[in-house]
Amino acid sequence: MPTNTSELALTEPGTVGPCHVGSDALQGIKRQQTNPTRWNGQGWTEFAAALRDNGIELRVAKAARGIFATDAGGTAYGLPHGVVIARSAAQVAGLLKAAQQFRVPVTVRGGGLTTEGESVAFGGVLLDMTGMSRVLQVDSDALTVRTEGGIFWHSLAEELRRCGMDYLSAPLNMTASVGGTLGVGGIDVNSPRLGCSADQAISLQVVTPTGDIVECSDTQHAELFQRVILGYGQFGVITEATLKIRRYTPLRMHYFYYDSLRTAVEDMQLLNRNDASDYSGILTIMDCAVNLLVAFDSDEREAAFRANWQRHLRGYGESGFALCMLRRYALRPWKLPEAWFLLQRKRELFPEFRRPEYMRDGLMHDRAVVFSRAVWKFWGSKQMVIPDLATSAEKFVEAVERGNAVCRKYFQHYTLYCVGIKLRPEHRPHYEMSCIPPDAEGWAYGCEFEPMMDERVYSRDYLQSFKNAIYDIGVDLGGSYYRFGGMMKGYIRRVFGDEVVDRHLAMKRATDPAMILNRDVIF
């Protein structure tokens, strides 16, 4: 094992070296390098001068760069040499042309909500897309919006609501950006019905890695569109997007409680298969209290659910579940600390989802705000790992149960978040080498495994081992992952196979000859 960095083999962009930090997978799969080597800065001065000549502001002060030292995960750290705030497609094009010429890596960042360092710059330029965050046009008749790519979903919602509109689906996280999300997926509790955020994009303005500004869609420059959507920022920078929108509706919420993951997952899949709800998802406190959330946009849909499907669900109401828990812990007094934790958690969590200012006449308003605030309040911390598994419907219960066993082994407290994603057959080309598993038909299912840090600080190796143990299950099951870039990219070849990866690598080399755009995220 090399003892200092000078002994590390230098790797060409596009290849991944052996990892001298992360432990091997439990299956004995050799780890590949997790953190990329810092870019050596060659040609930086000339590059900076070229940008200056072009009128592109490059910030090099420590304060400007320090802001971007890590992402939401807080385990990957790297400083860019300089920061550019995106202001227009032409400016981004100028930046990328110079970057190609001088072979300077450019890391694009939206909300920076990655957890594996995908939006962290290990040297080179950090391109902050939030500088391009204006809504350009809302068309309430055609139900579309044209927006700049760096806009946060929440800011988009703020504008849309002023004309009674809403986006279709977006991460339950207000500071995710449109561009960053279209590149990775975007799962909402309505994804079982509407698909992921990436499915909502009608057309994009993309700046290619060589600095061309191209409008693309399923009919115009379709190949570029297919690669940029769910493409992890490898094939271009999304500077504008036209998205589908809809009229805003508050939600009629129902919660069902289970003490079995399997039963809850089966019930959720039953609802999805039968289009019995507008929203569904599972949120758990470990595997002890499993909450299936079911919600509706209209009284009619809710009434149909009550008439046809509610009786098929095996979950309890709140009081029924309390009795069930009482029975369980009365028979297992040695598990009382766990019962106490559940009770505490319930006391903290439940009011957050029922805050009067978001509930009107029994309907929940602004679900993304309610959920996102709760996510950050109860699960957020400076260090976050959220490994996940994405599988076909058939394999999902096994994935969840095996992942749950891993969580139990590594952490005292954790949460699982499970949701379905309706697949669009015509979008198959978008799904290749993405979070959508290749064998999924109809729906893909995803489960996030989120440990609670409980004010403790874990070593990076411990967290990496945990993630590896979860991702090994994905290899076994032939699934995929939402977060397969950055520190987890060692799994890419295992899970997608050499043929697919090499084909994408060849496309990447063709569109990005100097391999400057989001280097080390995937390739």
Binding site: G66, I67, T130, S155, T175, P356
Partner: protein
């Protein structure tokens, strides 16, 4: 009516506790204006975590308008605006001498003790509108005897905003005359949480909340009104006031300058140099954003500063809350 209580009672946290969720950025008017993370509490905290010094952030720190919108949205319950003021304290403000001079001068002019149980700190803006002030005192006087404090701490408010320490003698000169009051109503939202500390035995209310609690005003609010909450007091006492205004919405059906996080969108964005009149204010984009897409027939404001801002950008009629009351 319960009075102001500081909802954040936990051990003081600092920028190093920021987990980087960015929720504060979404509500920050300076971020909205600049679309630049450096001009946001999130950006400042992250920069400080990674080696920046307060001097490196001087521009952003001075530009902050102290609307306090970032405080209630922080899941870590950081006292973000308090942190900004502390950091300002480490910078030298060019107007420090002037602001200190004002406090010294005011200390030399002690105010007489307030003889009534309720005191109103009207603030400079209201004092400049004697007719409106008279109307407000009459309205508030109806529900009990009210005294308008002679010293409403306008100089202290500016000094706090500059991150300056308040000399004990100046503080005593302002606070001692208020000791007899068991209820203090304050127009300057910045002072609200400070008064709660300085006068622990008294109940402290914002002028906006007090007026909007009066039946004679509530009954004249219309469903086509846009009610503009003064952000500083609202965010300082958010947990309680969010419920107060939600009740008002249910009762009157009017629209509010609230965003989807139920945070008050400021109609003006004034940095300290702008408040001091050293730099021209430039609120129009922000004021227009408050109005954007809303179908309203009247704007009702709690603050006179907001009235002027709306009158500048639209032809919709703008009234102060106190003007809604039936004729006295």
């Amino acid at each position: 009516m319960e009075n102001y209580k500081k909802s954040v009672q936990t051990a003081p946290k600092s920028h190093s506790d920021c987990s980087g969720c960015g929720l504060c950025m979404l509500v920050c008017p300076m971020w909205r204006r600049n679309r630049d993370l450096q001009h946001s509490p999130h950006g400042c905290a992250k920069a400080l975590q990674h080696g920046a010094a307060p001097d490196d952030l001087a521009e952003a720190l001075w530009n902050c308008t102290l609307c306090r919108a970032c405080d209630p949205v922080c899941p870590e319950q950081l006292d973000i605006s308090g942190m900004i003021l502390k950091l300002r304290g480490q910078l030298a403000h060019p107007q420090t001498t002037v602001l200190q001079g004002r406090m010294v001068a005011q200390t030399k002019r002690p105010a007489s003790a307030c003889q009534e149980k309720t005191a109103l700190l009207a603030g400079e803006a209201l004092r400049a509108h004697p007719a409106l002030l008279k109307r407000i005192t009459a309205l508030l006087g109806e529900s009990g005897v009210l005294a308008v404090a002679h010293d409403d701490g306008a100089d202290i408010s500016l000094a706090l905003e500059a991150g300056l320490a308040i000399p004990p003698a100046r503080l005593a000169a302002m606070i001692e005359p208020l000791r007899r009051a068991d209820k203090v109503i304050v127009a300057d939202g910045l002072l609200l949480p400070y008064l709660a500390q300085w006068l622990p035995a008294a109940q402290i209310f914002s002028l906006g909340e007090t007026l909007s609690s009066l039946e004679s005003i509530r009954r004249n609010l219309r469903s086509t009104d846009l009610y503009v909450i003064e952000p500083r007091a609202y965010h300082a006492d958010y947990v309680r006031l969010v419920k107060h205004y939600d009740r008002l919405r249910k009762e009157c059906g009017c629209d509010f300058n609230l965003d989807l996080q139920r945070i008050a969108i400021p109609a003006t964005v004034r940095s300290l140099p702008q408040r001091l009149g050293l730099v021209a204010s430039n609120d129009e984009d922000q004021t227009r954003w408050v109005l954007h897409g809303r179908r309203i027939t009247r704007i009702v404001v709690e603050s006179l500063e907001d009235r002027a801002a709306f009158e500048k950008v639209c032809a919709i009629s703008v009234v102060h809350l106190a003007e809604l009351a039936d004729d006295l």
